[in-house]
Amino acid sequence: MPSGKRVFSDFKVFSRGYLRNRFGLFFGLIFPVILILIFGAIFSGNSSGTINIYAQNKDTGPFPSPQFDIGSQLLNAINRSSTVRVITVDRNENFSRYLAAHSASDGLVIPANFSSYYWEGRQVNVTVYGNPTSSTSGIVSATVSGVINYFNLNYYRQNAIPIISIASTTVNTQQTKYVDFLIPGLVGFSILVNPMFSLVNISSEYKKTKLFKQLSLTPLTKMEWLTSKIMWYIVLSIASFLLMITVGIVAFGAHITLNEGLIPFLLLGPTLFASLGMLVGTVTKDPETAGIIGNIVTFPMMFLSGTFFPISIMPTYLQNIAHILPLYYIVEGLNNVMVYGNFTGAAIDLAVTAIITTVFFVLAVRLFKWRED
């Protein structure tokens, strides 16, 4: 029968040993924060560049000649400004949904019959979408209204009423900054790296130094031993997580949502990778070889799972590879919860993670031997 007392006393001894080792503590807690600071600083320049504005032109004409197409002229004029870049959205798309799907908040919709109303001198509205809390929305509306004023002045009619006016629609989508997605990525990174490297090392090192033999002479079971390691890495992951979001928010103004949806990922992640690390450690009792095998397993996962950059920028075949990596589902799940608020997606990621975790845990306990034949 597994004993909580044994698990807890092993947890106490292991965590004590860990905390007394400054290198481990540095690697576990400080290193991910340093990564956030480095990557955050490298990419924080993004916000001073041009702002993307999604535009949908519903005015289909007919136009006697292109110079009568006021909608297109308006969009071209906006695009010529140095502050924004217009991205055209197909007129059949549901615009609000399109913005949400692209994690964007700034948009502009030109209604049908825009040009004909304009030439007939009838008042017409363009709709500007924006999130008032976003720093870009002010720039977008200022740019758009500047261009519209110019059109109004140019084609000023005798009744002196500006014929184009702006209606605004509030969008809740936050514009995602690099740091927003960097934080879930690096949380995933620390969930992967800490338990994985540590367990690979421990399980081969303990074999070499005969510590496992020593432990096998006590009533502690392999499952209890692994459980206490998992408990420690969950504690460490949560501490590291809190530290990272604090730094992300304070230093880079990251927009991330914190809620209970994160908890299962912070519990399952370390369980998964501690088990995987122990599995790798079963392959050999030479710590150097184990380290190499550990790196072979860890590094592709580290770079291809969306930790440092989004999966979407990778070529399709690499994206396909990412889908077989356990870390992918954890990082995607964290992104879904923290950045996109997409809980359905997170639930799927969680289910996949739970299945992989169970398999690895059972295999690790079964295959690992601390006695010799």
Binding site: S3, K5, R6, F8, S9, D10, K12, V13, F14, R16, G17, R20, N21, T209, K210, L211, K213, Q214, S216, L217, T218, P219, L220, R371, E372, D373
Partner: protein
């Protein structure tokens, strides 16, 4: 029932016969010394008894249990220090004792255990800062946490300086006085002789001798001999002029003459006097366990347990050339 009963135990690694058909019993309250050079099969044998290794064949019962199949139960009843005892680097002996007490679910006063193994002064030092002797004492302390009646000590003093070794001996004697049964492997002959009630000598997986030190010496020793400090020429002179068997130990510059009867000594000394040559110190003595050991495993054991074959040095002809 004896605490340990072993019969026809065999353990092979491929073609290597690590333990080849050994049988022995260990009685309650005795210190049983398993002696032999490195690679003799001591550790393999003791680890099979501890339930850490599986055997190929043979009957092994420790407290009536099969150590491999019933290892989990057995481990609650025995104490073990594996060879080169190791522990978590940043944990102190005191914390280690409390940890083990929790694992075994027993109530233990850590100070008492530390006192028993003479480790009170280093009770709060991290394991990686302890000396070799203190590390071994930590191992001893942990093996005592579950109050076992049977202890396995696998080379507990290997690599320790003489003082640390003697301190461990004190602890082992105290445990014996408390009535514990102890199985001790060692490649130090003096250690085996000092501590053990009975000794078994292993070589190449075989048990080559077993009994008290006296019994082994009597059975395998060559009896009394005369040793004279002198030259190879003197050895040759005695050899030529008497019926005696004469060996010359070049390394020590000693003439060795086995004595079949007391009068042999007189004959040798008379010949020596006749030779007109000088000689130094002389004595008669019996084989020690050391000497018997050299005969049985055909070599001596160095500090690290490796065998050094000394055939050449014992060859009387060697001295002439």
């Amino acid at each position: 029932m004896n605490p340990i009963d072993v019969s026809s135990l065999k353990k092979y690694y491929g073609d290597i016969k690590a333990v080849d058909d050994i049988s022995f019993s260990v009685k309650k309250g005795e210190v049983f010394g398993l002696l032999g050079p490195n690679g003799a099969g001591k550790t393999t044998a003791i680890e099979i008894l501890e339930g850490l290794r599986q055997r190929n064949s043979g009957d092994v019962k420790v407290f009536g249990l099969d150590p491999w199949k019933d290892g989990y139960e057995l481990h609650k009843k025995i104490g073990v220090i594996p060879q080169e005892f190791n522990f978590f680097e940043k944990i102190t002996p005191r914390e280690a004792i409390i940890y083990y007490a929790n694992l075994f679910n027993v109530k233990v006063n850590p100070d008492e255990v530390l006192h028993d193994v003479l480790l009170e002064e280093s009770s709060k030092v991290h394991f990686d800062n302890l000396s070799g002797g203190q590390k071994q004492k930590t191992g001893l302390a942990l093996s005592l946490v579950n109050s076992p009646d049977l202890l396995f000590l696998d080379e507990p003093t290997t690599g320790l300086d003489p003082n640390a070794r003697r301190a461990i001996w004190v602890v082992i004697r105290r445990l014996k006085a408390k009535g514990k049964t102890i199985v001790l492997t060692t490649h130090y002959l003096d250690e085996a002789q000092q501590l053990s009630d009975r000794v078994a000598i292993m070589d190449h997986g075989h048990m080559v001798a077993m009994g008290t030190s006296e019994e082994i010496i009597e059975q395998y020793g060559s009896g009394e001999r005369l040793e004279i400090h002198g030259s190879p020429e003197l050895a040759e002179y005695i050899k030529t002029n008497t019926e005696l068997e004469v060996d010359y130990d070049k390394a020590r510059g000693e003439i060795h003459i086995p004595l079949r009867r007391k009068a042999d000594a007189l004959e040798a000394l008379t010949a020596a006097k006749q030779s007109g040559m000088d000689w130094g110190e002389m004595r008669t003595l019996q084989d020690s366990l050391d000497d018997v050991f050299v005969k049985l495993v055909s070599g001596t054991i160095d500090e690290h347990g490796e065998i050094t074959v000394q055939k050449n040095e014992n060859n009387p002809d060697n001295g002439r050339h």
